[in-house]
């Protein structure tokens, strides 16, 4: 069987299963008796084994098989969940992840057998079931399961008979009986080798729907679609045809092993319930005058979803960008001619503008991914760190459903991991130290994500010792990063910002968890590359908080277009506070810098034309020689006033990269194409603050 076409699905689903195993193992360690969790683990391991087997990844299959045996023992209550057991299982998961990584790279699983893990698993099995031989255990479990299957096939093939029906379903069956229609119960068995069980179930159901109406599925349609079922499921169909016809039609779908079907008879109890409820319904009918139809409540509204290649979404996004540029072009052409006087034309342009904005929003939304996909691996990481650092700690996460653009999601994982490691290693004190100062010996790390205006904020917080500002100050002086004089003048905040400078680590000892001095500056660079910013807040003895702010969207933003000299520049609207007219006479000098006093805030003035070497605009000087146009921008707590020559207006702009060949200063964050086809540079005013 050629399975290459399933490779992508296999990789995606394996990732999901591994993630689910990771998460549930963590839960299991805390709640060893949680039945749902162990069932969930068992199911994921089982699917994983099946898929690996189908794809011909023998080593992967073998390892999952042995892990599954352990899970099976735990499920059967023959084995206690211990920390060592979980450790070995986690090692197994890591090995599986390595297999997956190999498959991703070369479509081959590699040659690592992971014998040690398999041996460890088997040893546990031996110990867990009381010293019996490994092979025996295996055979025993195997025969046990085989027996169950055999039994099931003998007595219980018509599984639908044991399903408990809801009242409205019984009602519908009764009605169908009254109308002379057949109610057929079916149980569909799918082949073990089936790769896409969800799709198979869907096809079977569609076939059944050609013959009648499905009134119940067990498991539910949603679960079937998500493949949350073993190898069989049951359905009830109201039809004119006989059970045999239905069974044959369903069995014709490929990869279906067997279908059993029969007329479904209501038990007397059921009938009684229905009569009773019918009475009640009649009363209600008399009251409200309308009957709730059974059909409506039975048909499930399924949230259909499609996996889309990321590349296709990128293409779509580019096309939307092009469309917005074209729209801007149309507006700029029409504003130069008399055509704008035509109100019908004007209306159409506005209509177009609305559509492009909505289209942009919709496409953006499709690209949005919950941050969960990044942060869900962190609980596992913290568990590992707990062991490695010998420090008890807990990770509390909120806002995992906060959404971010996919490109940001891809990049944000490493910086967050860095910060968490930092918090665990340097932020939190050792358990003994914590106890000494009267804190809960178990340290806490918080990861909070939430949306704030046009930004997504992610906070990584710990309740550890906090940053000792004086220590950093001294270290910085020792290292020669700052002079003593400078150190005197710097505020605590400025000192903390030093942490983000390259090769600045305060940890006295270098550990392999963190503290190589390549931490925070890398984090900062990465986040700034994503158009975001990071700041640190700390309180000695109470903990440290790293706050990351990221823009919601990357590709298209609202900007204020301004003239500086003869050139046009775009200032992202997000960082702009206000625009002010400032009298030149009100500008003061402080420490050689120009500042203004704006409603109590002392704000430094920055002349962009000097920074950007722009030519002076002659005309502007004549017009308003005694006033300056100042754009006030804010970054964190700090303000700056940026002098521009003329405001052009607000515009939706598409951010384009300026490429790697041309060297440009930090302040230029990209370029955009204006309506008339000209290029304008985008200024990242945050770098000036």
């Amino acid at each position: 069987m050629d399975v290459s076409q399933y490779l992508e699905i296999f990789i995606d689903e394996t990732k999901e299963h591994l993630q689910s195993l990771n998460e549930h193992l963590l839960i299991l360690e805390k709640e060893p008796d949680n039945e749902n969790t162990i069932n969930e683990i068992f199911r994921a391991a089982h699917s994983l084994k099946g898929m690996a087997g189908t794809m011909g990844y023998k080593r992967m299959q073998r390892l999952t098989h042995d892990m599954e045996n352990v899970f099976s023992e735990v499920r059967g209550g023959n084995m206690k969940v211990s920390s060592e057991l979980v450790d070995i299982l986690f090692r197994g998961l890591d090995a599986l992840e390595n297999y997956l990584a190999n498959i991703l790279e070369s479509t081959e699983e590699g040659t690592e057998d992971n014998e040690d893990i398999i041996n460890a698993l088997n040893n546990i099995l031996k110990g867990g079931v009381g010293g019996s031989q490994e092979t025996e255990t295996k055979v025993a479990t195997n025969t046990a399961t085989a027996n169950i299957v055999a039994q099931a096939t003998k007595d219980d093939k018509h599984k639908y008979k044991n399903i408990k029906l809801e009242e409205h379903e019984i009602n519908a069956i009764k009605k169908a009986n009254d109308m002379g229609l057949n109610v057929v119960g079916l149980t569909v068995y799918i082949q073990e080798s089936c790769v896409l069980k969800g799709a198979r179930a869907f096809m079977v159901n569609r076939t059944l729907e050609e013959h009648g109406e499905i009134i119940k599925l067990d498991p539910s349609a949603q679960d079937l679609e998500d493949e949350n079922y073993d190898l069989d499921y049951s359905a009830f169909v109201i039809t004119k045809d006989t059970p045999e016809i239905l069974a044959k039609a369903a069995a014709n779908v490929s990869e279906v092993k067997e279908v059993v079907a029969d007329i479904y008879q209501l038990s007397e109890v059921d009938k009684a319930i229905v009569t009773a409820s019918n009475e009640a319904m009649k009363k209600q009918k008399a009251k409200s005058g309308k009957v709730p139809t059974a059909k409506k409540s039975v048909k499930q509204v399924v949230n259909r979803s499609v996996r889309v290649d990321i590349g296709k979404l990128d293409v779509l996004m580019n096309l939307v960008s092009e469309l917005i540029i074209a729209k801007n072009g149309l507006i700029s052409v029409s504003s130069e001619s008399d055509i704008m006087l035509d109100s019908a034309y004007h209306e159409q342009i506005e209509y177009l503008e609305r559509i492009t904005t909505n289209l942009h929003e919709s496409v953006m939304k499709t690209r949005m991914v919950p941050i969960e996909s990044v942060v869900n691996r962190f609980p596992r990481m913290i568990r590992d760190l707990t062991k490695k650092l010998n420090k008890n700690m807990e990770l509390y996460m909120t806002g995992e459903d906060t959404e971010l653009d996919r490109t940001v999601i891809d990049e944000i994982g490493d910086p967050l991991m860095h910060l968490l490691r930092n918090a665990a290693d340097h932020g939190l004190e050792s358990n003994e130290e914590r106890e000494k100062v009267g804190k809960n010996p178990v340290g806490s790390i918080f990861l909070d994500a939430y949306q704030e205006g046009n930004n997504v904020v992610i906070e990584v917080r710990d309740d550890g010792a906090g940053i000792n500002v004086d220590k950093i100050r001294n270290k910085a002086i020792d290292k020669g990063s700052i002079t003593e004089e400078q150190a005197e003048r710097m505020s605590d905040k400025d000192i903390i910002d030093l942490l983000f400078q390259p090769s600045f680590s305060t940890a006295e000892e270098v550990s392999d968890v963190s503290g190589r001095g390549v931490g925070l500056d890398v984090v900062k660079t990465k986040i700034e590359a994503l158009g975001g910013e990071i700041e640190a807040k700390t309180k000695l003895g109470e903990g440290t908080n790293f706050i990351i702010r990221l823009p919601l969207t990357l590709a298209i933003i609202q900007a204020l277009m301004v003239n500086i000299g003869t050139e046009k520049y775009a200032l992202p609207l997000g960082s702009i506070q206000t625009v002010e007219n400032i009298l030149i006479s009100s500008i003061k000098k402080a420490q050689g810098k120009e500042v203004i006093n704006l409603r109590g805030n002392i704000i430094p003035i920055i002349h962009l034309n000097q920074i950007l070497d722009c030519e002076k605009l002659e005309v502007a000087e004549e017009e308003d020689a005694n006033e300056l146009l100042v754009v006030i921008v804010k970054k964190g707590e700090r303000y700056a006033g940026i002098v521009v020559d003329k405001l052009i207006g607000q515009q939706e702009i598409v951010i384009k990269s300026i490429g790697k060949y041309i060297k440009c200063p930090k302040i230029i964050s990209g370029a955009t194409i204006l309506g008339n086809g000209e290029v304008a540079l985008i200024l990242d005013v945050n770098t000036l603050v």
Binding site: E567, Y661, I662, C664
Partner: protein
């Protein structure tokens, strides 16, 4: 040694002919409005909009250390792309003349001299009829500016 002939586009700076291998060239466009990029390398004139793509443009005259001249109706921007999916780069030349074929044997290599920029930019001197053509090493020119 017989090498297969390659095609070159002959461009001119003043009276001097230069050759650019045709496989790198995506298109040749007329002069456009160039948006200046502050603090960039002096030979980069800025960026242009090439069908929705932002493309940096450099002056070949400045890159090779010549004085700049006023643009004329013959001034062209040659769009080169070194890798198929890579970024494009625009090169301003005074004039585009013709396409010629040169065999490897028609080109004599210059002695490599890493102190001399202009030598690194040259792949050799091509002999075409009575003319001597300086074949430009476009990838060396671009690589130098590439940033990580």
């Amino acid at each position: 040694m017989v090498e297969e002939a390659k095609q070159y586009i002959i461009v001119k700076l003043g009276e001097d002919p230069y050759g650019i291998e045709i496989k790198y060239i995506e298109s040749i466009i007329v002069m456009q409005k160039i948006t200046r990029v502050p603090k960039a390398q002096s030979y980069f004139k800025g960026v242009i909009n090439l069908r929705g793509e932002i493309v940096p443009v450099l002056s070949l005259r400045k890159k090779l250390g010549f004085d700049e001249v006023e643009d004329t109706h013959a001034t062209r921007i040659i769009i080169v792309r070194l890798e198929e999916q890579g970024a494009a780069i625009g090169i301003i030349v005074d004039e585009v003349k013709e396409v010629i074929s040169l065999a490897g044997s028609d080109i004599s290599k210059l002695n490599y001299d890493d102190k001399n920029d202009k030598a690194t930019y040259s792949l050799g001197i091509g002999k075409f009829g009575d003319h001597l053509i300086n074949i430009l090493n476009i990838s060396a020119m671009a690589e130098q500016d590439k940033q990580n």
